[in-house]
Symmetry: C2
């Protein structure tokens, strides 16, 4: 590194942005200027980064000028429009949205799994995977390196902050309405109490789980479910991998959990899986039910690694492992993975 | 039916008992005396059934005398001790606990699936399955009749009332502590707020999901996970069926949900699956994501049927269906199934 590159954080005021500012303040400081950018609505707000109050500026061609690395932590349609503009102005873009994840000219990178992919970026854009894929991919990738994954069946328990700050506010508002009541025992009582306050969700989140996230894609699948399949295939370079995902939103603020049923080409054992997971970077093995040890969002939130527990071999299939993984969707699931990619790019300067 | 049999409700004061008293008050009245029984702690309490205040009596040989049909809605160790006594005194026992479900001399019955099994009961005891098995078995059984099930991978989203009244109280207490706060965003903050008030659960339930229910069984599996496998095999008469289950407790008061990945021997189609599910007794097909239609506990609680939605065929396996099912664990998952069995037995008198 010869000089400290200038960094733009586009979407600094959002749920992912807030965690990014924490991370930038805590990690080794590899950046020159850090420019905070959001929509015109937020221009003039002050946010703390690296211990300094910094004014937020509105996203524009001008505010992207002179930037070396631009982090996009904004809705996909904003990334789709503005990331190519930032790249054309000379920045390397690390995009956290779904806009470019499946673009064959954009690498989709998890540093623990496919760091080499970062180097080839024809469009000047690198994508960070979705938060549910990231919650499971580090553990699945580590096991794949030894056993060769053949099929994944995953059911997700997604936190409301996966839908951004608006999701968190909706859950908190709803919890205040149901706490101290007898709600949750007759049909529609929670729905009536919550009224129209469902926020970004299609049904109440307090005292409920909702088997839907994303938009309607083909044949009854949701866009998030297909994204888990397509992103996993791309990251692992297994274009034919069978992946069936079900996305369910749960009343947790932050940290996604995933129940993973993984079939491999080779025979597996819990013992060997434990050894692999215990020594994989970015993974914490927390698997002793007799001692009350299994990952839960309440313990995992705010931490960097992916936590894994409940490792079991299927009773009647020696090629199948069951896992329960938990990862902070705003950290490894978003801001941390994006920051890891940006820091690797900073080393090129 | 020549005479109205005398009924005992053992465990009338519990979570399942409360719903049983509602059902007995609403269904066609096929019973003579209804005797309410619980532990000595509850003796003398008055509960309403069929519109009458009825005094609870303590469980004893005496209070089981003169009973034709005895419903056991008590912990498994109480059933294990007392159900054979009730049977020896001439009652037909319908047991709702796990004590006899896998006993080869006790039929395990779901009226929509294997009603014929009810007739052969060498021990005078009939068992009702566990609440998670019941949440999925009516839909899986209906599809099995057409497509022949070959493998099930299920992840459960279990409500706290599955752990009884104590589970409901624990969640309500915890929600009062977290509502109106910023909790759920830093490691252990929910755990600290909740303190020792985790009730019957091994971790906080508010703003959390907990991948554990039941006791530790073999090789890292929980007893509830193995029970889902063993009960499903017994009900469907498929002793070799591959079933991998993961049980996760969620902060919902009542209604279990299950994400089901079902592989069949025959080719499946969503269209035919819809036809089957739309016409199966005890099932509501609620599957139009574009119109916001998929089952959630908040809509299902307090209703009798199993609700099913999110029906999808695997993209790369024409023998696999994905489903999301939701059923009230205190109704079909416990009291309703038990009442259905008892009413069928009442017709023998
Ligand atoms: N939340 C997660 O767990 C997660 C995980 C992985 C990826 N992601 C992705 O990360 C992105 C951000 O998610 P989030 O959860 O942080 O959302 P959020 O809380 O809703 O924040 C959105 C951010 O985008 C900014 N923004 C919106 N429209 C803009 C515009 N026209 N021009 C400039 N800035 C604009 C907002 O600025 P204002 O405050 O000015 O409106 C805000 O900073 C999304 O693409 C999301 O899918 C999220
Ligand atoms: N909750 C569910 O979703 C569900 C579903 C399917 C099956 N089950 C099974 O149904 C049974 C009851 O569950 P629950 O959820 O209703 O539990 P619960 O709310 O804890 O109620 C337990 C009931 O058992 C009675 N009891 C306890 N010890 C007794 C004793 N020594 N003698 C007589 N009665 C005694 C209690 O009476 P007191 O009030 O006097 O203590 C109370 O009526 C359990 O075996 C459970 O596994 C539950």
């Amino acid at each position: 590194m010869n000089r400290k590159p200038a960094l733009a954080v586009v979407g600094a005021t959002g749920a992912v942005g807030a965690v990014m500012l924490q991370i930038l303040s805590q990690h080794a400081d590899v950046w020159g200027e850090i420019r905070l950018i959001a929509s015109p609505r937020s221009a003039g707000r002050k946010l703390a980064v690296r211990g300094e109050e910094t004014e937020v500026v509105a996203l524009s061609e001008e505010t992207l000028t002179g930037i070396d690395v631009a982090l996009f932590l904004v809705p996909a349609e904003v990334s789709a429009q503005w990331a190519p503009i930032a790249a054309a102005k000379g920045a390397v873009v690390v995009d956290n949205s779904a806009a470019f994840r499946l673009d064959p000219d954009v690498p989709l990178v998890v540093p623990e799994i496919n760091p080499h992919s970062l180097r080839v970026r024809p469009r000047g854009i690198v994508a960070s995977p979705g938060c549910t894929t990231l919650a499971m991919i580090v553990t699945v990738g580590a096991l794949h390196a030894e056993f060769c994954v053949d099929e994944l069946v995953v059911s997700a328990y997604q936190a409301v902050s996966g839908a951004g700050q608006g999701g968190v506010e909706a859950l908190r508002t709803q919890l205040a309405l149901v706490a101290g009541t007898e709600l949750g025992t007759s049909p529609g009582d929670v729905r009536r109490a919550v009224g129209d306050g469902v926020g970004p969700f299609p049904a109440p989140m307090a005292l409920n789980v909702v088997p839907w996230s994303g938009a309607l894609a083909a044949d009854g699948w949701s866009s998030e479910e297909l994204a888990i399949r397509d992103e996993t295939r791309k990251i692992l370079s297994l274009p034919e991998l069978r992946v069936s995902a079900t996305c369910v939103r749960v009343p947790v603020v932050t940290s996604h959990s995933v129940s993973v049923h993984a079939r491999f080409e080779r025979e597996v054992s819990v013992e060997r899986a434990h050894e692999i997971l215990a020594t994989s970077p970015g993974v914490v093995l927390f698997d002793d039910p007799a001692a009350g040890e299994f990952p839960t969002p309440a313990d995992v939130v705010g931490t960097d690694p992916t936590w894994v527990g409940r490792v079991r071999r299927a009773m009647d299939d020696s090629r199948v492992l069951e896992l329960f993984v938990c990862g902070d969707n705003l950290r490894k699931g978003a801001a941390l993975n994006t920051a890891q990619l940006a820091e690797a790019i900073a080393r090129e300067f």
